[in-house]
């Protein structure tokens, strides 16, 4: 008989962003039980994590186990003792022949356990094992921990309850509807569960909630915002979007500020007009079915008006003091206790911008870059740091290159984010990030494992992207103050960038970096060449030969230094290799690889490097060493993993 299974963990509102991972985790934990099923489905709302499976057996399959007893030669008491332990008579035992001899044996049959019993025993542990980034206790010290208090549990196999208790809650067949629109206790079965919830204003499927929001906004030009949509999908059980409006006079404020207020503070979608400009409207998603009297719309409109008024108040107040005049105030803003104030940091950024090659405008942008930290607007909307400075700089008549550089200097904030749009911005961004990295490493604030409170990985990744994609051929290693931990940290970030972000193979990255990686623009160029070369038929055999050469040199303890004595070269493959080498030395490997490879192969085929005569041997080693050195400026080809 096959049965449906329903598990619903009823919880007080779970933080929206944790829900998808929690479901995935619950799924994995269920799989580990190894109960067979035909299909499984996971769903969630803020108040419930739900696992539904179809086709579970009522009972696990019976199992058989062969138990070996004493040897055939054992005394009768031992045989009787074994039989008694198995609950049978000695004559029911069989004799089994094994490589070690003949033994008494018994086939022990265990009836399969009831699936319901297995579930009842396992579910409390499974539920408490679901991973959440931050948990709490609520039944008292030492009590179970979960993301929020568990208030009810539905656990049913077919029509039957799977009985267990967790945190003082008994599993049952009663679910709970929407907080305000549904009933508090609703009897369900696995068959009618979803429909019963729907009757009580709970849409179980996230996809359906998503579609309901999208559908409700059809015809409204909402600025697409998938992340906000997901937040709202997991913040509601019965989402209904409504559109409100605000006074068009607020459109005088910068769009960035208006959108931040709407999105980050109010979780509203912003709305565009036909030309793609911000319209004096917003869309919010309620967690109820309708707003017939317009209470919710008007309430949200008033909240937004107050917020916009605040922003306008700050915007106007901040303008009374120019950015440039705020520089001394930065002495009172801590960057980091051991690294001084933002005034100190600004001085360092300016010096670094100059060192990197930034010109007057870039230095000007660096000078003003942190001044917005003392504005009311940034104190209120910290996520707008940089942007606000840029906007004020523009309003205060700074050149485009300067205000844009200030505006962009926190970019790129992720792998996908754009670089600062102009060179000045790239210099300031680089200098700011490098300064943070150098300072933090200097005072021992180094990321460990998943702990990276200062976002140093992101900063280093930003440095790498700006250098490579901004084509800034500066020697990175010279900028790291000889701090070996910082060098190693950057080495990891450079590898990560070229492998994970750019898709180069790991051995290509290792090979190219082994030939140097201080100049990342050059590194990228060499990687592109290796990638192309690798597709040619001569490449891997030659790489294998290079590896052989390196091994020979290592074994011989040969470190080079001598010159090749032509008179000692043996006519034939050795002399031919040398002749070929003198012809192609100094040329890019792409053009010569097809000529070089057969010569090298032939050399190894016919010539014994380890010649009895030490002069000849040294001369051969010198030849190989010279050859390897010649072609290793682009990459250490012996790092390439070959099939041969």
């Amino acid at each position: 008989m096959s049965l449906p299974f329903l598990l619903e963990i009823g919880v007080e509102e779970i933080p929206d962003w944790m829900i998808p991972d929690a479901l995935e985790n619950l799924h994995l934990l269920f799989e580990k039980l190894e109960i067979p099923y035909e299909s499984v489905r996971l769903d969630a709302t803020p108040r419930r994590l739900v696992l539904r499976a179809e086709g579970l057996p009522a009972r696990q399959a019976d199992s058989q186990e062969r138990v070996l007893g004493p040897a055939k030669s054992a005394p009768p008491q031992a045989v009787a003792g074994f039989a008694r332990k198995q609950g049978v008579k000695p004559e029911d035992l069989a004799i089994e022949t094994t490589p070690k001899g003949e033994y008494y044996s018994f086939i022990k049959k265990a009836p399969g356990r009831l699936t319901k019993d297995i579930l009842a025993a396992a579910l409390p542990g499974i539920i408490l094992q679901i991973y959440f980034p931050k948990t709490m206790y609520w039944t008292g010290k030492g009590g179970p921990r979960f993301i929020r208090p568990i208030r009810w549990i539905v656990a049913m196999l077919g029509e039957e309850i799977v009985p267990f208790e967790l945190a003082g809650v008994r599993s049952g067949a009663l679910t709970c509807g929407h907080r305000r629109l549904g009933a508090k206790e609703i009897a369900v079965t696995p068959a009618d569960y979803v429909e019963r919830l729907r009757d009580h204003y709970v849409i179980l499927s996230a996809e359906e909630r998503r579609n309901r929001i999208r559908g409700g906004l059809a015809g409204v030009r909402v600025k697409p915002d998938p992340a906000l949509l997901e937040t709202l999908v997991y913040l509601t059980e019965y989402p209904t979007p409504i559109v409100g409006s605000f006074d068009p006079q607020f459109l005088e404020l910068p769009e960035e500020v208006l959108i931040t207020v709407m999105r980050h503070h109010q979780k509203y979608f912003s709305v565009e007009d036909a030309e793609g400009k911000l319209a004096p409207q917003f869309a919010t998603v309620m967690n109820i079915d309708a707003d017939p009297e317009g209470f919710v719309r008007r309430g949200n409109e008033r909240v937004l008006r107050a917020r916009f008024n605040d922003a306008r108040f700050f915007w106007e107040m901040d303008q009374k003091k120019k950015l440039a005049d705020r520089l001394p105030d930065l002495a009172h803003v801590t960057f980091q206790a051991k690294l001084g104030s933002y005034r100190d940091k600004t001085k360092r950024i300016m010096a670094l911008v100059k060192e990197l090659g930034g010109k007057t405008l870039a230095v000007r942008a660096a000078r003003l870059s942190k001044c917005d930290l003392t504005t009311e607007l940034v104190k209120e909307f910290t996520e707008l740091q940089g942007v606000v400075g840029g906007l004020y700089a523009r309003a205060q008549g700074e050149r485009a290159e300067v205000w844009q550089a200030i505006y962009d200097h926190y970019k790129p904030e992720s792998m996908e984010d754009a670089l600062p749009r102009n060179p000045a911005g790239r210099y300031v961004s680089l200098a700011d990030k490098l300064d943070t990295l150098r300072g933090c490493f200097r005072v021992g604030l180094i990321p460990t494992g998943s702990r990276d409170p200062f976002g140093l990985r992101r900063a280093a990744q930003g440095v790498v992207r700006i250098l490579v994609e901004g084509k800034l051929a500066v020697p990175l290693l010279d900028l790291l103050e000889g701090n070996q931990q910082l060098v190693a940290f950057f080495e990891d970030r450079v590898k990560f960038y070229f492998k994970e972000h750019r898709g180069f193979k790991y051995d290509e990255v290792n090979a190219a970096m082994a030939a140097g990686w201080s100049n990342l623009v050059d590194l990228e160029a060499r990687l592109l060449r290796i990638q192309k070369l690798r597709a040619t038929p001569d490449f891997e055999p030659l790489a294998a030969s290079f590896k052989r050469i390196r091994n020979i040199l290592v074994q011989a303890g040969f470190t080079g230094g001598g010159t090749i004595d032509q008179n000692l070269l043996e006519p034939g493959p050795e002399l031919e290799l040398y002749g070929e080498f003198t012809k192609i030395a100094g040329q890019p490997i792409e053009g010569v690889i097809s000529k070089l490879r057969p010569r090298v192969d032939l050399f190894f085929d016919k010539v014994l490097v380890n010649a009895p005569d030490s002069g000849v041997r040294q001369n051969r080693l010198t030849l190989l060493h010279t050859l390897l050195a010649e072609f290793s400026t682009m990459a250490d080809f012996s790092e390439i993993v070959t099939n041969s």
Binding site: R180, N287, N300, A337
Partner: protein
């Protein structure tokens, strides 16, 4: 229209009906209702307790000379502590909103993740900000630690922001237009205070004097804490509550100095640490003192 004070009466009555003691505001300046002994100390230990009180909360840096419609130097919080938290706390909370005339079928309520933490008190909890039609009206927290101590019973703390909530109910765009009592506005009652404290906190507070006061209160709290003997048979009479008042004084002086721009980069973290050490010291001694009482 229900006045400011009528709504407060109703909320107090609502929680009194559910077994809460109605306390009056604490008479030492605090930055939040959580800092009052009725919360900070009462949540410690194994004794159940329920209490509600309106606490004027002072945040010197938030003062705006009475010019800003939404920001105040001193705002009022209705603080409710239910220790331990009842299982139906969410329903009880929602019903309290209905008790002051909010028809929850006509309004949108969301519980958005918002965990609370106070470094100066060594306290933190897990919870939500409660959004009513997009307005944050309550902070809802399950306390986990206080004074660095894991709590025996987990209390629910509800903090209603009264000015915001009531401006919403009365449909006022400025808190100063709230009707406090019939014919008397919030501005009539409080505007002068907002203006004068802003002037004092931002312009006239004497920094040297405030530092001196800070040092005196800190010294007195530290002296008392050092004198507390956990083994004394008489420890029940030891004045930990007065010691805590001195800690609160320090906290308020710190906030005032901060708004005055008098706390330098290097000092800030250190001063917070100093206050925290005292607060944690009182909490630990308090737990010890209760053990003998119980």
């Amino acid at each position: 229209m229900q006045s400011f004070q009528e709504i407060i009466f109703k909320l107090k009555q609502y929680w009194a009906d559910r077994g809460a003691i109605i306390q009056e505001p604490y008479d030492v300046e605090v930055g939040a209702g959580t800092m009052c002994p009725e919360t900070f100390l009462r949540v410690l230990g194994p004794e159940p307790y329920r209490v509600a009180y309106v606490q004027p909360s002072r945040r010197p840096a938030d003062g705006r000379y009475g010019d800003n419609p939404n920001r105040l130097y001193k705002h009022s919080q209705l603080q409710v502590i239910l220790k331990p938290s009842p299982d139906d706390i969410m329903e009880q909370y929602l019903a309290s909103l209905e008790a002051i005339g909010i028809d929850l079928r006509q309004h949108d309520i969301k519980f958005e993740e918002d965990n609370w933490e106070s470094p100066t008190l060594g306290a933190w909890g897990i919870g939500w900000q409660v959004m009513l039609d997009g307005l944050e009206v309550t902070q809802f927290t399950y306390f986990q630690q206080c004074g660095g101590i894991d709590l025996d019973l987990v209390p629910a703390e509800l903090t209603y922001g009264l000015e915001r909530l009531i401006a919403f109910l009365q449909v006022k765009d400025s808190v100063y237009d709230i009707e406090w009592a019939k014919g008397v506005s919030y501005g009539d009652v409080r505007h002068r205070e907002e203006l004068q404290y802003s002037v004092y906190n931002f312009e006239m507070a004497d920094i040297a004097t405030l530092w001196k006061l800070f040092g005196l209160h800190e010294g007195e709290a530290a002296r008392l804490l050092a004198a507390y003997d956990p083994k004394s048979p008489d420890k029940r009479r030891f004045p930990l509550l007065p010691a805590y008042d001195h800690v609160l004084k320090c906290s308020n002086l710190f906030n005032t100095l901060d708004s005055r721009g008098a706390i330098s980069v290097t000092e800030r973290v250190g001063v917070i640490q100093r206050v925290r050490r005292l607060a944690v010291g009182v909490a630990q001694a308090w737990v010890n003192q209760q053990e003998v009482a119980a």
